[in-house]
Every structure is written in structure tokens, then in C-alpha cells.
């Protein structure tokens, strides 16, 4: 049926085949597939030259697609046999499916894989944890970045608890100079990723809750999940006017122009703000709900790299993967892209102060990954997609927190039957 599939994609694949064919015949050259088109400069000017110092004969081309299209384009290219040699891996099922289709090779034999903890590798392993198919590169942390000037002007300091957080927002709103909290719901995912998944782990106790959810011992209708939705619902009065139509790019601009005080952030935003914002920035972890002592952060394993099973140049590809496990790469990557934190065991010194602050939370808080990512987004309806929609609706005031939990759990119940 391979042929039928190809035909459905028609001329597009044929065209790509031609291009990729031309690019891949040259021996000693590798092509990297990635969704990080924002980073092309860094790969070309810093990472690849550093690798070439060790292996001057291996030519590497960084060929990124737009993040939105990456999965679709990559799958089409892999099915059509025209994909690059090195595949940047999304965490969990998207990559697992590629491994199961035998489109990714196992990387267990690569030297240096012991430089990663089990947690770091978990996102790119088979469910039984026996085989790893991508070399972990980086994780991202969710939290809040704030404008230090705004805080000084209004006379507030970093909030530790949610009560303090609301007091800060209230003060900022009264002052009126700044949009108190910068987040929009037009693209939907911010409300889920920088809202629900950012402040939520404190309610569901990070990995404990995540594991219970997968085991079926907790439900998304339980109070801890509804409470997280209640919290993000309470943000609406502090968001900018017309936040329902505010896109992610709008939010980034609003904050980097100095018009917003607090930005519901992912650490990946740091490099964008470093290039644009002129004011001093700080960061604080998700404020804790009343009555909790331990703190949790969403420290999400996000990027890894594997080798295309159909690559004609696996030897060189493996040399590159091996280099990805070295502290040298980790240091270059973490400092070229502040906010993407190395997953390697060897400590990496992060120069950027905001990035250093965020990665420092790992010392005081427990890390967890987004609860919709492993296993729970395998079926239809897809929990992650549902979560985007539902979280945005909760912030928009179109769905009550209770109804949100119910919609998610109902969707999950339709296909997910955990062993009890």
C-alpha cells in the first residue's frame, strides 16, 4: 500500500523526492530534519562548525520546516523515502510511531548514552523502557517572566503563593500602566501549556499525579484538576483587552515592547525576548496554591535526535549523534539557545541570568512533564488537542472548570482503559 499512499500525496512527494535525492547522493553529507526553523542560524553558525572541528569531512545541512507542518511533512517524507538522515524527534508518541514503523533506528549502542538519566530518555523510549531511539537534546521549563521595571514602578515583588500572585495582578491592574498578565487564547495552546500545565503540577503533585492519571487512579474530574482550571479561569480579568483574538506572536510583542508586566512563559521565549526587549527581566516559578509545601515545575523533555533507518549515511549520522551526547555540545546548545536546557547529566553552565534562574528551579522544585504527553494522547479524541481547546475556553469564560474536566475525562474514557 505504500504506492497508494504516495499517490495520494501526488506530485508533492515526487518533487520532494527529486530534491532530497539530489541532496543525499553526496557521500559524507548529512541532512537534519527539524521543526526549529527559528534556530537555523545557530545551527549553521555555531553547532555545525563546532562539530566540524572534530569531523571536517562530514557536511551537514540543517533543513527545518515550520513547526506546525513538521509532523505532517516529516511523515510524508519518511513514507516517501526522501527524508533527511538525522531526524529531530518530538517527545513520546509522534517519535514512538516512527520507531514502530521502523523509520528510526535504536540509539542504545551509541557511546555516551549513559550521560542521560532514565527520566531524560523516557520521552524517546518504547513503553517498556528497553529501547531508546533518539538522543535527548533539551527540555523546556514553564513559568512566569516579568518586567522588573514594571514591578519596581508598582512596588510589588515576586509572588510565592497564588494569593500573592493575585495580589500582584490586582495591584498592576489598579495601576493601569501595564497589562498585568500577558497571554492570549487565539492560538489556544498557550492556555494549556503556559496556563494549565504550568500551574497545575502543584495541584496534582507533579509526577505522582501524572502517573496516577495514566494508571487510571485519578480522573481529570478530580478536585486537583478542576482547581487548576479554576485558577486559569481567574486570570481573564488581568489579560489584555480582546485577549480572545490575541495570538502567541501578539503576546510576545506585547511583552517585549514593555507593555505587559508578567508573561506566562515557556523558557523557550527567553531567546526571543533577549533579541527584542530592552528592560530588565526576571522569572518566578508557578506560584503555589495555599496549603502546599512542595513545589513542582513543568520541565518538559522536548527535543531529541535520531537517525533515519533509511539513511544512506548511517555511519556519519551516528558520529553526529555521539557528539550530541558530549558536554561540548550541551554547553554550546544551552548557551546559544538560552531557555533550552540540556538533559545531560554533566552540569552545564548557563550564562543567561533568566535562563539560569529558570533552570535553577530544578534545585528547589520537582520536575514533571506535561501530563497529556505520554500515552494519554494516543487515541481519538486526542487529549493534548482537547486540552488546548478546553483550556482556552475556560480562560474565555465559555466553559466552567468542572465542565472542562468532564469533557476531558469523557474523551479519555472513550478510548483509554487503564489496567486497574
Amino acid at each position: 500500500m505504500r504506492r497508494t499512499f504516495k499517490a495520494a500525496l501526488g506530485a508533492e512527494v515526487a518533487g520532494l523526492a527529486l530534491l532530497a535525492g539530489l541532496a543525499s547522493v553526496q557521500a559524507g553529507s548529512l541532512k537534519i530534519e527539524s521543526w526549529r526553523n527559528d534556530d537555523a542560524d545557530i545551527w549553521n553558525s555555531k553547532i555545525i562548525p563546532a562539530f566540524n572541528k572534530h569531523y571536517p569531512d562530514i557536511k551537514i545541512e540543517f533543513a527545518a520546516s515550520a513547526p506546525k507542518e513538521y509532523n505532517a511533512a516529516l511523515n510524508a517524507r519518511l513514507d516517501g523515502g526522501t527524508a533527511g538522515d538525522l531526524i529531530t524527534c518530538r517527545p513520546f508518541d509522534a517519535s514512538l510511531a516512527l520507531y514502530q514503523k521502523r523509520q528510526l533506528d535504536s540509539v542504545d549502542a551509541i557511546k555516551g548514552m549513559d550521560n542521560f538519566s532514565d527520566v531524560a530518555k523516557a520521552a524517546w523510549q518504547t513503553d517498556d523502557g528497553k529501547t531508546t531511539f533518539c538522543v535527548p537534546i533539551a527540555s523546556v521549563i514553564a513559568g512566569f517572566i516579568y518586567n522588573k521595571e514594571a514591578f519596581a514602578k508598582v512596588g510589588v515583588s515576586e509572588p510565592k503563593t497564588l494569593d500573592e500572585f493575585h495580589a500582584v495582578l490586582e495591584k498592576l491592574k489598579k495601576d493601569g500602566t501595564y497589562v498585568p498578565l500577558v497571554m492570549g487564547t487565539a492560538d489556544q495552546w498557550e492556555a494549556a501549556t503556559m496556563g494549565f500545565q504550568s500551574i497545575g503540577p502543584d495541584y496534582w503533585k507533579g509526577e505522582t499525579g501524572r502517573a496516577n492519571l495514566i494508571a487510571g487512579k485519578e480522573k481529570l474530574t478530580d478536585p486537583q484538576y478542576v482547581a487548576a482550571f479554576k485558577e486559569i479561569a481567574s486570570w481573564a480579568p488581568y489579560l489584555g483587552s480582546g485577549f480572545q483574538a490575541q495570538t502567541y506572536a501578539d503576546s510576545q510583542n506585547l511583552f517585549s515592547l514593555g507593555k505587559g508586566a508578567i508573561y506566562a512563559a515557556g523558557s523557550w521565549d527567553i531567546s526571543t525576548f533577549r533579541g527584542q526587549a530592552v528592560f530588565a527581566m526576571g522569572a518566578f516559578p508557578p506560584p503555589q496554591p495555599a496549603g502546599t509545601t512542595d513545589c513542582y515545575i513543568s520541565d518538559h523533555t522536548d527535543i531529541a535526535m535520531g537517525v533515519n533507518a533509511a539513511s544512506k549515511n548511517k555511519e556519519d549520522a551516528k558520529k553526529f549523534l555521539e557528539w550530541l551526547t558530549t558536554p561540548e555540545f550541551a554547553t554550546i546548545y544551552a548557551n546559544a539557545l538560552p531557555g533550552f536546557f540540556s538533559l545531560a547529566k554533566t552540569p552545564v553552565k548557563v550564562e543567561d541570568d533568566v535562563a539560569a534562574t529558570m533552570v535553577g528551579w530544578r534545585q528547589t522544585c520537582k520536575s514533571t512533564i506535561r501530563n497529556s504527553y505520554q500515552i494519554l494522547s494516543r487515541g481519538t479524541p486526542n487529549l493534548e488537542n482537547e486540552l488546548w481547546n478546553v483550556s482556552a475556553q475556560v480562560v474565555n469564560g465559555k466553559l466552567t472548570p468542572e465542565a472542562a474536566g468532564k469533557q476531558l475525562q469523557d474523551g479519555l474514557d472513550k478510548w483509554y482503559k487503564p489496567a486497574k
Binding site: 499517490a7 506546525k68 505532517a72 485577549f243 480572545q244 483574538a245 487529549l383 493534548e384
Partner: protein, 305 residues
């Protein structure tokens, strides 16, 4: 003409077109339909399931709800085009064809210009224009005293779809305008002159003489609009993404198909189910076209001059 020569000529003139058409239009279509009768397991192996995908798509609430939601939104999308784009196109064509309008070429070009822009640019620009943060829409409304009417239209369930439809209308109004304009120019001067001698003003000439004569073109435009609208995808995708928010208020068959076939974020693509969606879309368009051919096209009288 000897038969062999005729066959040779047919092959020479039709051959290349037929080959390309079969290769790139008919074969993929048939292949898609064939694909929709299969299902695939995690390892990528496919097995034949007959019409099971269609049963799931139309029978299982999990699939049928978003499907009919997308279909309904598509109807609204089409209705807005029919009620706004085409009348405006006809009106503009009518105005342009009036004798004595100056700068005709200029207007024609300006109105046709958006049609040639990339949809992504159109989506991006309108996103900015209507943005509650930096858009000019809020300021412009305020300047004429209507500031209270402004809302984040692209972000509200109630208005997002109509707003996007109107953006699409703005972009593509040039096409009906040009087609009808060309038809209007084809009307012989004698007819218009006769009407003028009979004492009709421009307005009545348009409604009683010109409009009936361009009806076949208008129906052609309607069919083109129908096909284009039910195949639409790019504008919604570029403005609202594949999840077509808020709460799927702007989801149309095109975005629904994209999510199904290619997947979205953590949702993996499902080519066989996607092919089923594409097949149903094809039949919807086919049905619409057949209805048009049998109910409308056969009744249209064409005037030969």
C-alpha cells in the same frame, strides 16, 4: 478525413492533456478512494476494511460531530460568499461597465489585486488589522463614533467564522467581478442603445437588459464559488491553525481533513481515515455539482447574437 489520421490527430492534441489529467487528477482520486477502504496499525501495515471508515465517520459521534460541525460551518462559509461576494462582484462589474466611468483600468486592477496576494499574507494582514492590541479597526470605528461596536471578532465563537468568510470575500471578490465584467462587455451595444431609445435609465437597463443576459455567467460563478468554498482550507489554517478555534467555531471540511490526515501536534495523522474524509468531501462537491447541472444549468437559456 481517414480514420487513422483522425486518431493520430486526436492522440497528438488530446494525448498529453489526457495523460497528465489521468496521472495527476484521476489516478490520485481513485487511489484516495481506494485508500479510504483500508485501515492501518501502528507498524504501518494496512488491511482492507471495506466501508468501515465511512461508518465510523458518519455513525460514531466522536467523528460525526466534528464532521457535521465542519460541514455546517462550510455551508455558512459558502452562504456568506454567495450573499456578499457575488452580489458585490456583480455590482462592481455593473458600475465598471457603465459608459463614461473614468480610471476604469485603475479600479479594475485595485479590486482584483487582493486575489493575487498569498492567502497567508491576507490572513496575517487581517489578523493585524482586526487585532485588539494594534489593529486599526478599533481606532477607525472610534473615529466615526462607533467604538463600542468593536470586539475581538476573530477570537469569539459567535463572530470568528463570519469574519473569516468576509476576509475571504474581500480577497476573492475580484474573480466574479472580472468574469461578469467580461460578460457584460460582450452584450452588443445595439441592445443597450435600443433600451436607451425606449427611455430606460442606467439602473433599469442593468436590471432588465444586462442582468438577464449575464445570468449564465453568474451561475457559473456560483458553481466556482461552491467548489472553491468546499475545498477551502488555507485561510482558516493560516489564521486559526489546524484546531480552527475557538472551540472549532471556524472548523471547515478542509481543516477537519488536514487534522485527520496529517495529524496535529501530538495527534498522529491517520491517512486512511483522512482519505475517507477526502472522499466524502469529494462526494459532497459532486452532489452539489449534479444538483446544479440538473436543476439550474439545463434551464439556463443562452442568447446568441
Amino acid at each position: 478525413m481517414p480514420r487513422a489520421k483522425l486518431a493520430g490527430l486526436l492522440l497528438f492534441f488530446l494525448g498529453p492533456a489526457v495523460t497528465i489529467y489521468v496521472l495527476f487528477s484521476i489516478y490520485p482520486l481513485v487511489a484516495t478512494m481506494a485508500l479510504s477502504t483500508y485501515t492501518s496499525d501502528p507498524s504501518g501495515a494496512r488491511s482492507f476494511v471495506g466501508l468501515a471508515n465511512f461508518e465510523t465517520l458518519l455513525g460514531d459521534a466522536l467523528w460525526s460531530k466534528p464532521f457535521w460541525n465542519a460541514f455546517g460551518n462550510n455551508l455558512i462559509f459558502f452562504a456568506v460568499h454567495m450573499c456578499v461576494q457575488n452580489p458585490i462582484g456583480i455590482a462592481l462589474a455593473g458600475l465598471l461597465s457603465l459608459p463614461g466611468v473614468r480610471l476604469k483600468g485603475f479600479y479594475r486592477t485595485v479590486m482584483f489585486l487582493p486575489t493575487m496576494l498569498s492567502v497567508v499574507i491576507v490572513g496575517f494582514s487581517w489578523n493585524l488589522i482586526l487585532s485588539p492590541l494594534w489593529g486599526v479597526a478599533a481606532g477607525a470605528l472610534k473615529a466615526v463614533g462607533l467604538g463600542s461596536l468593536f470586539a475581538p471578532w476573530l477570537g469569539l465563537e459567535s463572530s470568528a467564522l463570519v469574519t473569516l468568510s468576509l476576509i475571504s470575500v474581500w480577497q476573492f471578490v475580484g474573480i466574479p467581478m472580472m468574469l461578469i465584467y467580461a460578460a457584460l462587455l460582450n452584450i452588443p451595444e445595439e441592445l443597450i442603445d435600443a433600451a436607451r431609445v425606449d427611455g430606460l435609465g442606467q439602473f433599469r437597463i442593468f436590471f432588465h437588459i444586462k442582468l438577464p443576459l449575464v445570468l449564465p455567467t453568474i451561475s457559473l460563478v456560483s458553481v466556482l464559488t461552491f467548489v472553491a468554498n468546499f475545498n477551502a482550507f488555507d485561510l482558516i489554517y493560516s489564521v486559526k491553525g489546524a484546531l480552527a478555534g475557538p472551540n472549532f467555531a471556524t472548523d471547515i471540511l478542509g481543516t477537519f481533513f488536514y487534522r485527520t490526515f496529517f495529524g496535529n501536534q501530538l495527534q498522529l495523522g491517520n491517512p486512511t481515515m483522512g482519505a475517507a474524509v477526502a472522499t466524502v468531501m469529494f462526494f459532497i462537491i459532486l452532489l452539489g455539482l449534479c444538483l446544479y447541472l440538473f436543476l439550474v444549468q439545463r434551464r439556463i437559456r443562452r442568447y446568441a447574437f
